[in-house]
């Protein structure tokens, strides 16, 4: 990845050796949160340090996520800041810039708060963005998300049961048969009829989707095996359907009609 990194920017010079971490050694650098990257197809992390006299160091973390969908996924895992138009998606808050492009997920921050350093963080991001030529595709499953009322930065893309429970606890066991071959997206909606949450899961084939759907119905809403819509004990509504290889579930809708309407807006075309 070093070929994508400038040796100097605004007087900050790169230190000679980048530190490298793989799926096994990432905990030496990141501690427990290394698991976030391991929930995706994380391959390698390189950490570069830029120094300039009398200025805070700038740290650049460059993750090779194997595929663009997983670079996008890990980017969506925790975003809450401002989009600053770097890469294919960016998040800037409190001096920390994160963005994704192609198969790369990049985080840059200064170890101090000088204005020069903060500006250099952004410039470094733009430089690396320019050096990555390839535009990577986003996950296919995103195209089934209804656009009306979608809260864009609530969107989370992931694969596994652990990821789902990280963002929205559903069950302690894997009742939707999620694994590294499933593509899932969770997103919040704010429509005129109220807020709700939509989960879409794309399985490798229709049989697996139907198997997971039936398992979910038994485990989560056994009272609604025919209607596939149910008012839960907190008075909100959950509705589910399967279409081709996709399972769609609406949670926390304030009205039955709102749950069913959002579900109808999910159209899976094959």
């Amino acid at each position: 990845m070093s070929e994508l990194i400038p040796h100097e920017i605004r007087g900050w010079k790169i230190q000679e050796e980048a530190k490298k971490y793989n799926r096994e050694t990432i905990f030496e650098y990141i501690d427990g949160a290394g698991e976030v990257y391991r929930m995706y197809a994380f391959r390698e992390l390189e950490v570069f340090r830029f120094t300039k006299p009398d200025e805070p160091d700038i740290v650049l973390e460059m993750f090779d996520m194997t595929a663009s969908v997983d670079a996008f996924g890990v980017f969506t895992h925790g975003r809450e800041g401002e989009e600053v138009c770097i890469g294919q998606g960016s998040d800037y808050r409190g001096g920390l810039l994160c963005f994704w492009k192609d198969k790369y997920f990049v985080c840059i921050y200064a170890e101090g708060t000088s204005e020069k350093a903060l500006n250099t963080v952004l410039d470094l991001g733009k430089t690396i963005d320019g050096a990555i030529i390839v535009i990577g595709p986003k996950p296919e499953v995103l195209k089934y998300l209804p656009q009306g009322g979608l809260i864009e930065n609530s969107l989370r893309f992931f694969h596994t049961h652990v990821s789902l429970n990280y963002h929205y606890f559903l069950a302690d066991s894997n009742i939707l048969n999620l694994d590294d071959k499933t593509d899932a997206v969770l997103a919040r909606y704010d429509k005129s009829e109220g807020k709700s949450l939509l989960l879409l899961i794309s399985y490798p084939n229709e049989d697996l989707a139907h198997l997971a759907f039936n398992g979910f119905m038994i485990a989560y809403m056994p009272e609604a095996q025919e209607t596939h819509v149910l008012q839960t004990e907190d008075s909100t509504w959950v509705a589910a359907k399967t279409e081709h290889n996709v399972v769609a579930i609406v949670f926390e809708a304030v009205e039955k009609e709102a749950a069913e309407r959002l579900l109808r807006e999910v159209v899976v075309i094959k």
Binding site: F27, I30, D31, G32, A33, G34, E35, V36, H77, G78, R79, E80, R93, G94, L96, C98, C107, Y109, V162, N165, Y166, H167, F169, L170, A171, D172, S173, N174, I175, L176, N177, L211, A212, G215, F216, I218, A219, Y220, T232, E233, D234
Partner: protein
């Protein structure tokens, strides 16, 4: 196929048929339930002092000393702090103070020194006391320790929900990633390992200026800290963590104006109770004793 036995779903939490603390950690509201008052309550001290920070925002060691003195004397029902320390530490003990070195929010030096002072007052030789975090496995005092004092700030954490007293012992295992499963659900299992089992005499959860919200790994943001001016002190780490978590939730409710669930859910605190039986996370079973400043107490 999905498993069918012993499954816990979100709906179980909504119904209130499983652990209340866990449900609250996940942002799931519960109907009020009638509970039988337990006979024996676990005591947790909440001590606060509005003067713990000076005008420059620095921690005043004298005030920290007084806060700890007040906490231990009431916790152990003694007249003087030294008597309290002597109930938990003996002169022949070898004592490790497990602190936390996280750069943005470490265990304050003033607190570490206050704890050391208490241990010295109990008669322990200084050479038999050590303060450490990441080096505990290689630290000779910790290797031979007969007693541990656990002290760290409460903060949000990218993989365990909160950095808690329970989580503070993860440095006692050679491979911390072994305990990362299900977002650190089983951290309490560490407390059963020989290097720490039954050695912890006191837990201090630092609530001076906690970090109550964060997203992602590099998530320290000063705007999500607040000066709470408090310390939570007790012998049961699960109970102390549970109280801290409830204060967090109250703060998040106040700040965000809604009951925003923590991601990931800090369920290791509830599991420490319900699965590992290390202590209690049920506020109904905790006697919370409040000392000092009451403004903005949130609990």
């Amino acid at each position: 196929m999905a498993e069918t036995e012993n499954r816990i779903t979100r709906r179980d939490f909504i119904r209130g048929t499983t652990c209340a603390t866990l449900a609250l950690a996940m942002g799931i509201g519960l109907e009020a339930q009638e509970k039988e008052k337990p006979l024996k309550l676990t005591k947790v001290m909440l001590v606060r002092d509005e003067k713990v920070f000076d005008k420059e925002g620095r921690i005043d060691p004298m005030v920290i000393q007084k806060m700890m003195d007040d906490a231990v004397t009431v916790l152990f029902d003694k007249k003087k702090p030294v008597e309290a320390w002597k109930t938990i530490i003996k002169p022949k003990d070898i004592v490790g103070i497990k602190s936390n070195a996280w750069g943005s929010l470490p265990t304050p030096d003033a607190l570490e020194q206050t704890l050391k002072r208490g241990i010295l007052d109990a008669g322990v030789d200084e050479k038999n006391i050590s303060i450490d975090d990441r080096g505990v496995l290689g630290n000779k005092v910790f290797q031979k320790a007969t007693a541990l004092i656990n002290a760290r700030p409460l903060r949000t954490h990218a993989w365990s929900g909160v950095g808690s007293l329970l989580k503070n012992y993860i440095m006692f295992v050679p491979s911390p990633s072994d305990y990362h499963g299900n977002t650190c659900a089983d951290l309490a299992a560490i407390w059963k390992l020989p290097i720490v089992k039954d050695k912890t005499r006191l837990n201090v959860l630092v609530m001076l200026e906690p970090l109550f919200h964060g997203v992602g790994r590099h998530h320290f943001d000063k705007k999500y800290t607040w000066k709470y001016h408090g310390l939570l002190v007790g012998t049961d780490p699960v109970a102390v963590d549970a109280v801290g978590l409830h204060i967090f939730k109250a703060k998040r409710l106040e700040y965000f104006g809604e009951d925003r669930p923590m991601t990931p859910p800090p369920h290791h605190i509830a599991f420490a109770d319900t699965k590992h039986h290390l202590g209690t996370s049920d506020l109904e079973k905790i006697e919370l004793v409040k000392l000092g400043w009451k403004e903005g107490i949130l609990i």
